[in-house]
């Protein structure tokens, strides 16, 4: 080892040529190594120079700060962050009674806590289902009130982030078990079960979500007797569950099909019943494989909740849009959309990062 030329210390002032080490060499090796990479580098650098400084100028230098009034905003040439401060509570909580807005805040915190805890595999035990149930009951008590001295708040007044979270979390958690049953049903040997599952999945997947929401909100009430109305939120929630279940079922079916036939035969050979086979052998493997498409569905579904705006529910996007109609604060849509875009992004980015980690964790045996 000692005779190795590489370990000989360089004499002071004696450095390799700048074409081999140093920033210039790095640039050459990574950004300008071929002629097409050189062109790409120049194009991207040009795009960055063209977009980033104006963005910073708009968002920071020329902007009216969070304390700005609408008059100050009219004079500023940049962003008006005063709009976000003024409308913050409305965008986050919608028309929920102003003095009671700690309740939706607590609900959001509760949901984030529950979701955070669910990410830890140590909590993946049957009793955690009860924790979720308790959490949902607590969220219901907080949002509706009417007990423990909380004033009753109708769900027509709910809005903003809690509504988005309720629609997506309840939608996904109810749709998930249904989707497993649908996926199993679609691969079942029983023709009737199979036909029903295939018909359901193909029917729901064959129509856009927006038309399902329209059906639920516009057509469905007309079939009910006069005077009977079913809550708008409930109708939208059911439409979401139906929709998510069909899509997730297909993701899970992909996982089921990827399991080698030998696994099924080995389980049958051990004399396991159908549910034992599925519950202990097939599904744990199939679900682990299905994580990327499932998370894909989760993320798109989370964002799809914003479609409820067309049926007059104020989700996060709906409250931002309604906030923009205040005559005193009109025209700050860049600020509003940027703000809620950040919220959506934070949730979706977290979901995708977590799924990457979970995928690695669950598929350890596959990487061996």
């Amino acid at each position: 080892m000692s005779g190795n030329a590489d370990t000989t210390p360089l004499a002071a002032g004696e450095r390799p040529p700048s074409t081999v080490v140093g920033p210039l060499a790095w640039l050459r090796a990574n950004l300008f190594n071929t002629w097409y990479n050189a062109i790409l580098t120049i194009l991207i650098a040009w795009a960055i120079i063209r977009t980033v400084p104006p963005l910073i100028e708009w968002a920071v230098i020329d902007a009216a700060g969070f304390g700005a009034t609408s008059e100050m905003c009219r004079e500023a040439t940049g962003a008006c962050w005063g709009f976000v401060r003024e409308k913050l509570r409305f965008i986050l909580f919608g028309t929920y009674p102003y003095d009671e807005q700690w309740r939706p805040l607590a609900t959001v915190a509760l949901f984030i806590l529950l979701l955070g805890a669910s990410c830890d595999r140590r909590f993946w035990k049957p009793w955690f289902g009860l924790v979720w149930l308790a959490g949902l009951v607590a969220a219901g008590v907080l949002m509706w009130g009417g007990v423990f001295g909380l004033t009753y708040v109708e769900n027509t007044l709910w809005g903003g982030l809690p509504l988005t979270l309720i629609l997506s979390v309840i939608g996904l958690s109810v749709a998930f078990p249904i989707s497993i049953l649908l996926a199993l049903g679609r691969r079942s040997d029983m023709p009737a079960v199979k036909a029903i599952c295939v018909a359901y999945i193909e029917l729901i997947r064959g129509v856009p979500l927006i038309s399902l929401l329209f059906m639920a909100s516009v057509m469905f009430p007309l079939f009910l007797p006069t005077g009977v109305t079913i809550d708008k939120l409930l109708r939208a929630q059911i439409a979401f569950i139906m929709f998510a279940a069909a899509y997730m079922a297909e993701a899970i079916r992909g996982g089921l099909q990827a399991i080698p036939k030998g696994q099924y035969e080995a389980a049958d050979g051990l004399g396991l019943s159908y549910w034992q086979k599925m519950g202990k052998i097939i599904l744990p493997q199939a679900l682990a494989i299905s994580i990327p498409p499932l998370v894909n569905t989760f993320i798109s579904f989370f964002k799809d909740t914003s479609l409820v705006i067309i049926i007059g529910l104020y989700d996060l996007l709906g409250t931002a849009k309604a906030a923009l109609t205040d005559p005193a604060w009109r025209g700050y849509y860049r600020e509003a959309y940027l703000f809620i875009g950040l919220i959506y992004w934070a949730f979706c980015y977290f979901m995708s990062k977590y799924s990457q980690w979970l995928e690695k964790d669950l598929n350890r045996m596959r990487r061996r």
Binding site: E86, K87, R89, F90, F93, G94, T95, Y96, P97, Y98, W144, E154, N155, T156, L157, G159, F214, S217, V218, M219, P221, L222, L224, P225, T226, G227, V228, T229, I230, D231, K232, L233, L234, Q237, I309, I310, I311, G312, Y314, G318, K321, A322, A323, L324, T325, D326, P327, A328, R330, G331, Y333
Partner: protein, 341 residues
């Protein structure tokens, strides 16, 4: 979720009970049993129906909803607002999800007949107009041949635009855009020469979105009639009467110079018209099946038509809309109350 089902079950029970003992119409009975009015409003339209920063509903349409609640219950709080999208509004009214629709809805023949609505008096006369940059030097819509026109898609605005230019033998290039925000942005970025939508919308956009409102003019031509009115569904004439005469009461009060501030002085008036309106001489309330003080309460808590107008869309609001067609008939407008007698 369970509450929704319970409420539905309760509603079944109520409607069954109501049909058994129907002396008023089914809608009015349901409202009285429920204790509040369900009012369908816009999900967000500046000046007409939009929630403020604290989530309270404001706007001209919203104030009329409150006026109906005051007329019926004497309490502006006995109301529930249901924000409705354009596609949802008629099914929501037909299915009984709302009792009255006060959501910038144009009164048309088909809506009045086959859609099954009854329209109360117009609360805002609107019409489609054109806005151009002052620098173009255009003074009339007849000069707009060959212009590029920004218009929102999927609205009657688009059809009216096509009809107008065809009828006048003018060429134009439509720039059709889905969202209002983007139409605004396209116009102010100079993508089109002309912006067309309802005149109230043009004025609102000019006041609130234009970098400099004085650089833009609204042309005098109004190419469509858009009378916006509250609507109820067919089948309950008494409820329709209450809605109708509540709107008239605000107009009548303005004609007589009665405002929310001076209404108490008018209780000692010598004018028999005023005395009948305010319920000092009994009869009007009983005819409608309301408390004799109904109109007094409406004027006292909500105000007359002029007050409602000025508070929500008038020249001192960001929308800066002149009264125009919405002035009293005695001032050259179209606001005219049927006589209270």
């Amino acid at each position: 979720m369970k509450k929704g089902l319970l409420a539905a079950a309760a509603a079944v029970a109520l409607s069954v009970a109501a049909s058994g003992a129907a002396h008023a119409g089914p809608t009015l009975d349901a409202i009285k049993k429920r204790g509040f009015i369900q009012c369908g409003v816009n999900t967000g339209l500046a000046g007409f129906g939009n929630p403020d920063s604290a989530g309270n509903w404001t706007g001209l349409d919203v104030d009329f909803c409150r006026a109906f609640a005051v007329a019926l219950f004497g309490d502006a709080g006995k109301i529930k607002f249901t924000p409705l999208s354009a596609q949802q509004r008629f099914p929501a009214l037909q299915s009984g999800e709302v009792d009255v629709l006060s959501r910038n809805t144009t009164w048309t023949l088909t809506r009045d007949t086959s859609v099954g609505l009854n329209f109360a008096p117009v609360t805002y006369y609107d019409g489609q107009g054109f806005m151009v940059p002052k620098s173009l030097g255009v003074t009339s819509a007849k000069d707009l041949g060959g212009a590029t026109v920004c218009v929102q898609s999927g609205t009657t605005t688009e059809l009216n635009l096509a009809d107008y230019f065809r009828a006048n033998n003018l060429q134009y290039n439509p720039v059709v855009i889905e969202s209002v925000d983007e139409v605004n942005a396209a116009y102010f970025a100079g993508r089109c020469d002309v912006y067309t939508t309802d005149a109230s919308g043009l004025a609102g956009t000019r006041a609130a979105v234009a970098p400099n409102p004085d650089d833009h003019v609204i042309l005098p031509e109004v190419i469509s009639k858009e009378p916006l009115a509250p609507a109820v569904r067919h089948g309950d004439d008494q409820w329709f009467d209450i809605v109708k005469w509540t709107v008239y009461a605000t107009v009548q009060a303005e004609e007589k110079g009665i405002t929310s501030k001076n209404v108490d002085e008018f209780l000692a008036s010598k004018d028999p018209d005023v005395l009948r309106l305010l319920g000092v001489s009994a009869g009007m309330g009983a005819a409608l099946g309301l408390d004799e003080k109904w109109a007094y309460n409406v004027i006292k808590t909500i105000g007359n038509y002029g007050e409602i107008y000025e508070r929500n869309v008038g020249v001192n609001t960001p929308l800066k809309l002149e009264r125009g067609l919405n002035a009293l008939w005695s001032n050259g407008g179209l606001m005219y109350s049927m006589p209270f007698r």
